[in-house]
């Protein structure tokens, strides 16, 4: 089909429309269905869990295996201290945000690969981003579990941050985005802290625990530090399926099982 201007079109609701037009964009608001509604996305922190080694990680993996029959799990893993180090060297060399994102993704990939080796005998597989796109449902049907690099595949295309040069989308954002696109049942962040506090409880004795909070309210409070990446809060405000995230202490035995069982432990941040 050809119009007076010479472009050859395929007939559709969006034919000839500007996708930058606000009215056209508003017309695309419609219900979304969940692709993998029974999957739980579990995020293992890099700095908070992985960098502590076996004493923190191995009991957690035992707990994941113990829950395998009951709960289908996809496990995202963060980068940790090696990413901090390469940020330091990369920034000193003057490298841009996109280059730092490409570099730090390998730290999380290493951690995810180690986790997949430790869970391999239970059928968990490590999936790089292209395989998450193509193979995740098949892998879950066969194995009830997969491990992926928590850092999203933005690489050189990482967004420039509002302040400074650190990549804004780390493994928390990447794990969240995967839960959102698949419409997962749960997204649980395993950290080394009980949840969200009004200040860092390790340095401030007056810090108050916050069991539940709306994402926008948390953004507005502008707390000096957060246990998850601020990008997750912004993503939550635009969620269509993954409308809440739970942060729990992965160093406390049985916390993961309780969260998977639906108990209100840790902190729930919701839309």
């Amino acid at each position: 089909m050809s119009d007076h201007s010479g472009a050859q079109h395929v007939t559709s609701n969006l034919m000839r429309e500007s996708l930058m037009d606000k009215t056209v964009i508003a017309r695309t608001e419609a219900p979304v269905s969940s692709i993998l509604p029974d999957v739980n996305v579990i995020q293992i922190g890099g700095r908070s869990i992985m960098d502590r080694g076996g004493s923190a990680l191995l009991p957690l993996l035992d707990e994941i295996v113990a829950n395998q029959a009951e709960h289908r799990m996809v496990i995202g893993v963060g980068g940790g201290v090696r990413s901090r180090h390469i940020f330091s060297v990369g920034l000193d060399l003057g490298l841009p945000t996109g280059a730092l994102a490409a570099l730090s993704a390998k730290d999380a990939a290493q951690n995810a690969y180690m986790v997949s080796c430790l869970l391999a005998k239970y059928g968990f597989v490590y999936l790089e981003a292209p395989f998450v796109v193509q193979l995740l449902p098949a892998m879950l049907a066969a194995a009830r579990g997969a491990v992926f690099n928590g850092i999203p595949p933005y690489s050189l295309w990482e967004h420039p941050p509002r302040v400074g040069k650190l990549p804004p989308h780390g493994s928390d954002a990447g794990s969240y985005l995967l839960a959102e696109v698949f419409g997962a049942r749960n997204i649980i962040f395993l950290k080394d802290i009980d949840g969200l506090y009004s200040a860092d409880p390790r340095t401030d004795a007056t810090a108050e625990f916050i069991p539940e909070i709306r994402a926008q309210e948390l953004i507005d409070r502008k707390l000096p530090t957060l246990p998850i990446e601020p990008a997750v809060l912004e993503l939550l405000t635009r969620a269509k399926l993954a409308r809440s995230v739970r942060i729990i202490n992965g160093l406390v035995p049985a916390n993961l099982s309780r969260a998977l069982g639906g108990e209100s432990i840790g902190t729930l941040i919701y839309q």
């Binding site: 969006l14 979304v32 901090r84 985005l177 269509k240």
Partner: protein
């Protein structure tokens, strides 16, 4: 366990902060400002060829533009990114109707930009111009030095990880944004968008005859005007405000012979959107 903190003697002051503080700490983020901005490819030009505006028109639009690109090969090094166009509009509306999420629409739309990039690549193949996937970008400097240009698909490689838009379901970061981010990360000399309009108007000139032409405007003013429709994805304008390298972007009419060449030569054809404080 021995940690990297034991080796902190080798770290810069910023490095010590990065290791000991939370990365969500604003003081750490601000501290990263005081580092140099190295440009990776200061001589490269990123040229985005529109999907609906150029590629969907077929030979009448594409052949002359390919000739113009070839004529500039010895003079300007170019990363040629492609847009998606009408097939993306078709699959977006189908996928929305099927209830699929934004991340899936990104995977689908990327395939359309990829098709357009392949076609452009076939037309430029006899000049030794390769098509490069995002995963192959590390070979790009070599081809630019040897052959003067490469073709890539314009979508950023976000796949399922594309964030939701504020409203609706269409991926907010598409080919305009992908090409802009390539220009920014490499510190490119120019970011030129080749479309089928002379530049920016106050409204879509294809629909509103009363719309006024805007030859030059700051990104801050354009954002403040909050126009109903734009010539470029809003994400480009948002990222431009925070960019470290790209100070202006230029929009030219690819249906007008010589406009791309003029823009590559640094002439103020079409519309230029610049960052305030950087006006020359």
């Amino acid at each position: 366990m021995k940690t990297m903190q034991d080796e902190s003697a080798h770290l810069t002051d910023l490095g010590k902060q990065l290791i000991s503080h939370s990365l969500t700490d604003p003081s750490v983020q601000r501290a990263t400002e005081a580092t140099p901005n190295f440009t990776i490819l200061p001589w490269v030009n990123v040229v985005k060829i529109g999907g609906q505006s150029i590629m969907d028109r077929g030979r009448s639009a594409v052949y002359p533009l390919v000739q113009e690109i070839v004529d500039n090969l010895g003079r300007h090094k170019m990363i040629l990114g492609t847009g998606a166009g009408t097939r993306a509009r078709h699959i977006y509306s189908l996928a929305i109707d099927l209830g699929l999420p934004t991340g899936v629409l990104t995977v689908l739309g990327t395939a359309v930009a990829w098709q357009n990039a392949q076609m452009l690549h076939y037309l430029l193949a006899q000049y030794g111009i390769p098509f490069i996937e995002p995963e192959g970008f590390s070979t790009l400097p070599h081809y630019l030095m040897e052959r003067g240009a490469v073709v890539c698909q314009g979508m950023p490689p976000y796949k399922l990880w594309e964030p939701n838009p504020e409203t609706g379901r269409i991926p907010p970061q598409r080919t305009d944004t992908g090409c802009f981010l390539v220009a920014e990360v490499f510190g490119a000399r120019k970011m030129i968008y080749v479309k089928d309009e002379d530049g920016l108007y106050t409204a879509d000139p294809k629909k509103h005859s009363s719309s006024q032409y805007i030859p030059r405007i700051s990104v801050e003013e354009l954002l403040a005007r909050d126009l109903e429709d734009l010539i470029v994805e809003r994400a480009v304008l948002e990222f431009m405000v925070r960019a470290r390298h790209i100070r202006e972007i230029q929009f030219v009419n690819g249906l007008e012979p010589g406009q791309l060449t003029a823009a590559l030569n640094g002439e103020p054809v079409g519309t230029i959107i610049y960052r305030n404080g950087d006006a020359r």
